[in-house]
Symmetry: C2
Amino acid sequence: MANIKDIAAMAGVSIATVSRALRQPGLVKDKTAAKIEEAIRELDYKPNLVAASLRRQKADAVIIAVPSIHNPFTSSFVEGVENVARENGTKVLLAITESRSDLLDRHYEMIAGKQADGMILLDLIEPSDLARKVAGASPLPIVLACEYQDGKDQPRVRVNDVDAAADAAAHIAGLGHTRIACLSGPSVQRMSRDRQRGFRLGLRRAGLELAEDLIVAGDYSLQSGVESTFALLDRGHPFTAILCENDEMALGAIHALAVRGLRVPQDVSVIGIDNMRFAAFSNPALTTVSLPTTAIGEQAMRLMLDFAIDADGACREIILPHQLIKRESTCPPQA
Amino acid sequence: MANIKDIAAMAGVSIATVSRALRQPGLVKDKTAAKIEEAIRELDYKPNLVAASLRRQKADAVIIAVPSIHNPFTSSFVEGVENVARENGTKVLLAITESRSDLLDRHYEMIAGKQADGMILLDLIEPSDLARKVAGASPLPIVLACEYQDGKDQPRVRVNDVDAAADAAAHIAGLGHTRIACLSGPSVQRMSRDRQRGFRLGLRRAGLELAEDLIVAGDYSLQSGVESTFALLDRGHPFTAILCENDEMALGAIHALAVRGLRVPQDVSVIGIDNMRFAAFSNPALTTVSLPTTAIGEQAMRLMLDFAIDADGACREIILPHQLIKRESTCPPQA
DNA sequence: TTGTAGGCGTTATCAG
DNA sequence: CTGATAACGCCTACAA
């Protein structure tokens, strides 16, 4: 494969000139540039980015680490990151971690190894390097999105999960429901704990309590929404609404209720959180709290870029707004 | 940041020994290795992968290029690729192209630029380098998945879309339907043309024809499934079943039919292709043709690895089997 | 078992 | 405006 030396030889100039022609076209004479361009075409020359990277100490690439790609939230988030990265000529590399430390660490090596300039993390785990970082040390080029650890000086962008969940609960309470069930997520995740707290908060504001016997723990999957709902129905305790910690479980709940011959929303109201793409098209369409997923990705990437310019000066936390979306899956309880 | 030289100095050995200790541990004395390990820990040394890459002419990474990540098919496919890559210590980098040549080419540069060893392409477009490749030239390190151009000597793995669609059509015909509608995809995509052909083939085998006035073109999205179905109903031509070129549009169709007060499957049967994750949980659960999405990813990655070993010897085409999955969205037409 | 040294392909500095 | 040259950090014959 042709390299810069071959081009220089063919164009009759030095390699320095070729390099300049490529990176700072203004600095070379038009005629020289033309000869170089000709040689490049002739030899089908492609710059070796690895060599450039080694010399410049910069890869023009960032890694997004996500636990799973089977997740509409992930998709929109990545889309947001791409939007901003693209304008900036930065490549975005997606890494899937399955929330396994070894996989995340393997990708984090790419940063230590200079193959990428930074990492945007949408996960509940973190690279072990970040974990053992001592307070006060200069922050790593990592932007946290949504899942976050307290007390780390990393830039982060997130929504207020407590408020979002509280809004969902308030909507249900406002419709007049009192026997209210809940499909929760894995409580190891901060997000799940926050949403759980939000549900309680929203209910309490209306003078209600979340009944412990109406809470079922799932894992945020469609499947677990179905199973949890069956479990709930089998307990035999009556309820007229289900607060779901995410849309996917809510969709599972709607499916399970239909299987058992219950009508949504007349018999049971269902509400989710996320406003994932499918939520508008379920039968019935899902009432939910919309999260600015794409905007989160965009802000995360901006934070990453700011961070590259000035690691200490970059903003440390951005919180984006959510919004209740009323559709067909909720209504007042029918006496 | 500490480099190999620092380690060598601290451990009192040469850099060659350090490098060996890292790459071929068998070749250094235990005691020396221990000193080196100690120094590595002490200085928190991380090998510079870019430098190694430059020297070894290998990046231990492959790129998967996909048009969109908003797509359950993509997710499972990527999962398959990861499964195999992981065993092999290869990093998988996902690139999203939106089927735009400029974006795909930007990522293809990473191969020419040695930042990645190859590319697995799940897209209908191809890098311009591949497009202008002359027949007979040695094949590029690119594995094609599903979408493919005829007459290119690239390794590829795919399903038989014609057969898959024919099976769906045969199922519908077998139930006794005769007025059969169809939601098609963008005919620029080979996959869409193949599935369309398959529908016709399956119907003809049963002595039926696809009525032109009952075909609506969509773009494979949920949204377009909804809209196309409304359009179909508004035409006023009666039908008792809809063949959908993919599950996502099928789910949209089910939603639209429900909105118009039609029952699935009693009034209209609906069948899709893909067996995406949500298909089992819609109301009613979707009858569809299951495609071995994850297996496609696994095979694609294997092909990539084989290709790295022997570009000319590697297998050129793998075709994987599909299977009809009967669920709740189809039944005989009700007189 | 270890050390020496050349080179991977660029970029950037400094003269000219 | 252009050229010579020293890095960038690592790997790998080859020699010892």
